[in-house]
Symmetry: C2
Subunit: 293 residues, 2 copies
């Protein structure tokens, strides 16, 4: 996922209504220094981000991503982003993504310590080759997230519904999963409910119904999960937000981790016990997710 | 706390035993770009740090800070820092701190995504003027940390004992405290125990005894708390690590938040209820903490 293009964004006020924000974008050399050591993104993980899948130059689900960026900014008391400016930044960056699969990443940082304004930038990269994992699936382990299911609503300062730059725990959970011989992790609450993966949402199938954990402040609302649910519903399939126990996952008829870049991957084992999978549906979901949307 | 000096550090292997690491330090312009947008510190808060108090050019508690940097790095699966290199970096940066009170900050980041090595740097800044708050104290609110007291030991991937760059929650808690009309926060576990403040340790006095929360993986082990305990013990006073309930704090005979830069500040109110304080002891603690150690 080597970055190939980046532009700095001079954040416009949310109330600004100009048509063309290209004058607020400054392309930079991705390998050159661009951020000062006073940046609060780097000192404290203090900012929010989005990763957008790009297929043959077309960024997918842009509106869901910029809306979530604004939601995350609100939870973090950051100045409201100008959504049209960010839409145009996505377009500008996506134009430099490679053919095939790419990534546009948006970052809104609180800025330089005691500085006047947030720092913002967008990057374009090629995506890793996920062909094999989309075909073969992932083995997951369940990892305690420490919180109970109500923590997010009870304590909004825990920022559980914001996609912040403070991702050290997510990265540590992925390392722990690999140490246990698995490929990925699913976080479980102290009271035994499954939440999400460190960088993906969880969808399970029980009988004829597709289920995901309700995003009631305790988890991110996954943009890819939303797209998959809309797709399933358009085919007349039943979807539902629910409280899902760890047992629901272990006994599911099929389960997937879904995210914007890796897309849909089947969970083939949970804590070492095999889980049924549905290769035809997985392939169909990925065909949908990789089409221009 | 405007930064006035910074140096990049080319991390040496922990097994390296040279005498002089000055050749691995590169002074940089603190206001100029120094970090690429691919930095994992900035993308994911993926790294560890320390803030060291400097008084008239003398950095305090250096050994405790570099040892904790190494401890945090170990919890985050980062390459072991070369302690002698970091000690020399502290000395080099502290030489550029202002007269009076300053700060040397150490940062060890996982580096550029897919890059070959961690990124590391140190900065020197002047400290804010904390004279008034050391005299007048702080009003705190207790804020739910979401976890129970055992979470850190049970789930080391939550990194509760590491001083990581993922500080968004700590910053959000401080904003929440100010929204509630207070100056600072004390985190409380789901099961009712007090932990620490977002950027400080908690010490309370109950009768003749000074108590702090046991750092059993659930909180950082405060370098300033350690120094204060040693100081109190040297005067024949009793200190103890304990499980402290929110009621223990609310009914304490006195309480302080202690940290490396602000030093010791009395807690004068908890959730709006006044708390007794001991101005003479607070002043004496600060005189000790601000002396060269």
């Amino acid at each position: 996922m080597a970055q190939r293009y980046a532009l700095m964004i001079a954040p416009a006020d949310a109330a600004d209504t100009r048509d063309d924000y290209s004058g607020t974008f400054t392309p930079i050399d991705v390998t050159a220094p661009a951020l000062s050591v006073g940046e609060l993104s780097t000192q404290r993980g203090d900012g929010v981000f989005e990763s957008i899948g790009v297929v043959d130059g077309h960024p997918n689900e842009v509106e869901a991503h910029v809306q979530r960026l604004a939601h995350s900014a609100r939870l973090c008391d950051l100045p409201a982003p100008n959504l049209e400016q960010w839409r145009q930044a996505v377009t500008a960056a996506a134009a430099h993504a490679p053919l095939g699969e790419g990534v546009v990443k948006l970052i809104l940082s609180r800025g330089v310590e005691h500085g006047p304004a947030p720092t913002a930038w967008a990057t374009a990269s090629s995506a890793p080759d996920y062909t094999a994992v989309r075909r073969d699936g992932v083995r997951v382990v369940t990892l305690d997230r420490g919180y109970d299911l109500g923590a997010g609503e009870r304590a909004p300062w825990l920022l559980l519904g914001a996609k912040t730059l403070s991702y050290a725990v997510n990265m540590a959970a992925l390392r722990e999963a690999r140490r246990r011989g698995a490929d990925d992790a699913v976080f479980v609450t102290r009271d035994g409910y499954v939440l999400e993966a460190p960088t993906a949402s969880l969808i399970i199938r029980c009988g004829d119904e597709f289920l995901t954990t309700a995003p009631s402040a305790g988890i991110l609302h996954g943009t890819t999960q939303l797209a998959v649910f809309e797709h399933l519903e358009s085919q007349g399939l039943a979807t539902r937000y629910a409280k899902l126990s760890a047992t629901d996952l272990a006994t599911a008829d099929a389960a997937w981790l879904v995210s914007s870049i890796r897309q849909a991957v089947a969970i083939t084992a949970v804590d070492g016990a095999p889980l049924a999978s549905d290769p035809a549906l997985t392939a169909e979901l990925n065909a949908f997710l990789l089409s221009p949307r």
